[in-house]
Amino acid sequence: MKTLAASKLGKDDLIATYRLIKLGRRLDERLWQLNRIGKVAFHISGQGSEVAQAAMIKAFNTKRDYFLPYYRDMTAAMGWGVTAEQIMAGSLGKAADPSSHGRQMPNHYGSVAHRIVSFGSTVTTQYLLATGVAYAALLDHKDYVTLVTTGEGSTAQGDFHEALNIASIKKLPVVFAIENNGYAISTPNREEFAVKQLAERGKAYNMPAEAVDGHDFTATYQAFAKAVSRAEKGKGPTLIEVMVDRLTGHSSDDNQNVYRSKEEMAALKENDNVPLFEKQLSEEKILTPAEIANIDAEIKEMVNQATQAAEKLPAPAAETLLDHVYA
C-alpha cells in the first residue's frame, strides 16, 4: 500500500476525503436500517468500495467533468457534489430527488446540476452514453473529461465492447472504470470471464489499461489522475479496473450467506477499506484517533439530519404522473 502522503494531496484534501468516505459508509448503513424498518423499499450497497470511489473522483475536476455512475457509486456521487439529503430523497422517493424526482428505484444516482448523467438498470448502457458525452466535448471544443463506471459483471455485455471500440477509434476523452468486487450478484469472477484481470482487455482496443487495488487510496488516485491527464491531452481513453470488496449482499433483497462462506466474509471484514484508511490517517499523523472519532460523531449527526430532513420532503404529486413524456 502506498502512503497517503505519496498522493501529494494536502492535509485538508485528505481530511475532506476521509469525511466523504465515512459519510459514504454511515449513510449506507442508515439506508439499510431504513430498508429494514420498511421506509425504503430497496437498497444496493457500496460498502467495501468507499475508498476506491473517493480516490477515483479525487482525480477529476468535479466542477467541469461529466460522470456516468452505476448503482454502487453513492460515495462517488457525493464526492461529485450530491448531498446526503439528496441521496436520501432519492431512496425515499421524494420529488426533490435530483436523479429522477422520485421516478427511478433507489441508487440510480444522477444530477443535472452536477453533470452526473442519469442511468438505467439494464447494465452497461452508460458506457455507450459516455462515448456520446465525450464525443460532444470534441465537437464543442470543450475541455471536460468524462468518467463512466460499471461493475465487473456488466463487462460481459456487448455495450462494453462497443463503447471501448468506439472510444479508442475516436480517441475520446473518457475514462472507463470497472469496480470489480468479485461478484455479479452471486456469480463469482471465475464464472463471469476467463481473463485474469479485466484490464487485460485494454490491449484489444489499443487502450492503456491497468488494474489497481481499490483499498490503496494513493495507487487508485494516481491511476485515475494519469487517465484524466491523458484525456485532457487528447490522447484518448483509459480503462481502469479497481479491485474492491462487497461487504454486504448484492442488495437489500439478497442473502449472500447462501453463496459466500463465513471465512470469506470474516476475511473481507478484516480488510475493510474504511478502517484501513483510518489506520493510514493516524499512522501518517494526518488525524489522531480522537479526531477520527470526532469526525465520525459529526458524520453520524449529518446522517441523522439528512434522514429527518428528507423524510419531511413531499413525494411527487399524483398529477405529475403524465408529465415529461414528450417535449
Binding site: 442508515r30 436500517q33 430498508n35 429494514r36 424498518i37 420498511g38 421506509k39 425504503v40 423499499a41 430497496f42 431512496s91 425515499l92 422517493g93 422520485g102 421516478r103 428505484m105 433507489p106 449482499g249 437489500s252 433483497d253 439478497d254 442473502n255 450467506n257 423524510e311 413525494a315 399524483a318 398529477e319 404522473l321 403524465l322
Partner: protein
C-alpha cells in the same frame, strides 16, 4: 409518552412474511432509534430489524421462531411525545410501492386528449348489434325506450322487445296486455279531450302489441273457416274423471286440455299447419309447441306448452295449470313464452261462440275454441236428442295453406274430438 407498534417490514420484493428467529431485546429495555431489536429470516434475506424510534420496550408480541406476515405488529414500544394519530400511522409507503400503486388510480385518465364518445343528442344512434337484431325480428327501434347511457337503446333492450313481441296476444278478442310478467307502468293521468272522452297514452307494451297485430295483418293474407264439433262424449269423459282428478291434482279438470291434446294429435298428421312462412320458404317445425292464451284481470299471456303431442290429456292439464299459475304469480319465464309453433285460444271461456283470431306471427294458423253449448239435435240414428256442440274457428296463412289443407286438418281434429269415449284414458 405514547405507545407505538413495530411491524414486520417487507424485506425484499415479493416477500409476504418472515420468521422472527430471535429477540435481541426484552420488555423493559431502553433502546435507541435504529438499535436492532430482532433477527428475521425470510426467503430472500437474513437480517436484523432496527427500531424505527427510541424508547422503552413495552411488550414483545410474537414468540421466537414464529412466522409473521408483513405489516403485522411484532412489539410495542413506549416513546416520548404526545399520542397522536400521526404517530400511530404505519411507515410511509416505500417508494417502489408508490410507483406501483399510484398509477393505478391515475392511469384511468391517462389520455387527456382522447375525445369522449359523444352523448346521443338529437337523433338516436344504433349500434350494429342493435340494428341487425331489430331488423331480424322486425322491431321498430323508434318505439323503444333505451336503458343505456343517454337513453341509448342497448342490445338487451331489443332482446326484451323481442320477448314481449313473442308473448303478445294475437286475437282481437283479447284484452290489452303486457306480454311480460312485469306489470306495465301505470298509465299517466288521462288528459281530457275536447269531447270529454279521455285520451290515455298507450304503453310501450300496448304499442308493441299494436305493431305485432299490424305486421300479422299486413304481411299475412289471412283466411278464416269454422267447423262445428259434437263434444257430448268429450263432456261425458270429462265428467267421468272430474272428481278423481280434482282429488288427485288439486285443481279442476277443464275442457281445454282435451282440445289441446286433439290439436296436437291432428297437427302431427298435418305438418303444414305447424309451419311458418319465412323469406319465400316454408319452414316445417318438427316440434309441436302450442301457445295457449291465459288471461288475468288486466293482461293476457301466450305461454307455450312444449311438445304437446308427447303429453297425455292429464299432462296437458297439469302444464296448463302450471303456466296459468305462473302467470298469476308473475313467475313466467322467457322460456315459457318462446318457441310456439301454433296457437290455441280458449275464447269459449268468456262465452264467445265465433271469433276470428289474428295469427301469432310468424305461425301458420290460430285456432279458437268457442263455448260449448247444448243443442237439440238430430242424432245419427235420426233421434232427437240434446247434444253438446262447439265451434272451432281457424285463421290461416293463405300463403302456405289453402282451404283444402285446413279442411283436412279440421276434419281430423273433429274426428279425434268426437271419438273421445267415456273410458278414453286421460293419463
Amino acid at each position: 409518552m405514547k405507545t407505538i407498534e413495530l411491524k414486520m417490514p417487507q424485506l425484499g420484493e415479493s416477500v409476504t412474511e418472515g420468521v422472527l428467529t430471535s429477540w435481541l431485546v426484552k420488555a423493559g429495555d431502553e433502546i435507541a432509534q435504529y438499535d436492532p431489536v430482532a433477527e428475521v429470516e425470510n426467503d430472500k434475506v437474513v437480517t436484523e430489524i432496527p427500531a424505527s424510534e427510541g424508547g422503552t420496550v413495552k411488550e414483545l408480541l410474537v414468540q421466537e421462531n414464529e412466522t409473521v406476515p408483513v405489516d403485522a405488529p411484532i412489539m410495542t414500544l413506549t416513546v416520548a411525545g404526545e399520542a397522536t394519530e400521526a404517530a400511530a400511522k404505519p411507515a410511509p409507503q416505500a417508494p417502489e410501492k408508490v410507483t406501483e400503486e399510484t398509477p393505478a388510480t391515475v392511469t384511468q385518465s391517462n389520455e387527456p386528449e382522447k375525445p369522449k364518445p359523444e352523448p346521443a343528442a338529437g337523433q338516436p344512434r344504433f349500434s350494429p348489434a342493435v340494428l341487425s337484431l331489430a331488423q331480424a325480428h322486425d322491431i321498430d327501434l323508434n318505439h323503444l325506450t333505451g336503458t343505456g347511457k343517454h337513453q341509448r337503446i342497448t342490445r338487451k333492450d331489443v332482446q326484451r322487445a323481442i320477448e314481449q313481441k313473442a308473448a303478445a296476444p294475437t286475437t282481437e278478442a283479447s284484452k290489452p296486455a303486457p306480454t311480460k310478467p312485469a306489470k306495465p307502468a301505470a298509465p299517466k293521468p288521462a288528459a281530457k279531450s275536447a269531447d270529454d272522452s279521455q285520451a290515455v297514452p298507450a304503453s310501450n307494451i300496448r304499442k308493441t302489441i299494436a305493431r305485432n297485430m299490424l305486421q300479422s295483418v299486413h304481411e299475412i293474407p289471412q283466411a278464416w273457416t269454422m267447423i262445428e264439433v259434437d263434444v257430448t262424449n268429450l263432456a261425458a269423459l270429462r265428467n267421468q274423471n272430474k272428481a278423481a282428478f280434482k282429488a288427485d291434482a288439486g285443481f279442476s279438470l277443464s275442457y281445454f286440455p282435451f282440445f289441446v291434446k286433439a290439436v296436437a294429435q291432428s297437427l302431427k298428421r298435418h305438418q303444414r299447419l305447424n309451419s311458418s312462412w319465412q323469406d319465400n320458404q316454408i319452414i316445417h317445425h318438427d316440434d309441436i309447441n302450442l301457445g295457449i292464451a291465459v288471461a288475468t284481470d288486466d293482461a293476457l299471456y301466450v305461454p307455450v306448452i312444449k311438445h304437446a303431442d308427447r303429453l297425455s290429456i292429464a299432462g296437458i292439464a297439469h302444464e296448463i295449470n302450471r303456466l296459468a299459475t305462473s302467470v298469476r304469480e308473475g313467475k313466467l319465464t322467457a322460456a315459457d313464452m318462446s318457441g310456439g309453433t301454433f296457437t290455441v285460444n280458449n275464447t269459449g271461456s268468456f262465452g264467445s261462440v265465433a271469433s276470428m283470431g289474428i295469427i301469432n306471427y310468424p305461425q301458420a294458423a290460430i285456432l279458437q275454441v268457442e263455448t260449448i253449448r247444448r243443442e237439440v239435435a238430430v242424432t245419427k240414428d235420426n233421434q232427437i236428442g240434446i247434444r253438446q256442440k262447439v265451434n272451432l274457428c281457424l285463421t290461416l296463412d293463405h300463403r302456405l295453406l289453402d282451404g283444402l289443407a285446413a279442411g283436412h286438418f279440421l276434419n281430423d281434429l273433429k274426428q279425434i274430438l268426437e271419438n273421445y269415449q267415456v273410458d278414453t284414458e286421460i293419463y
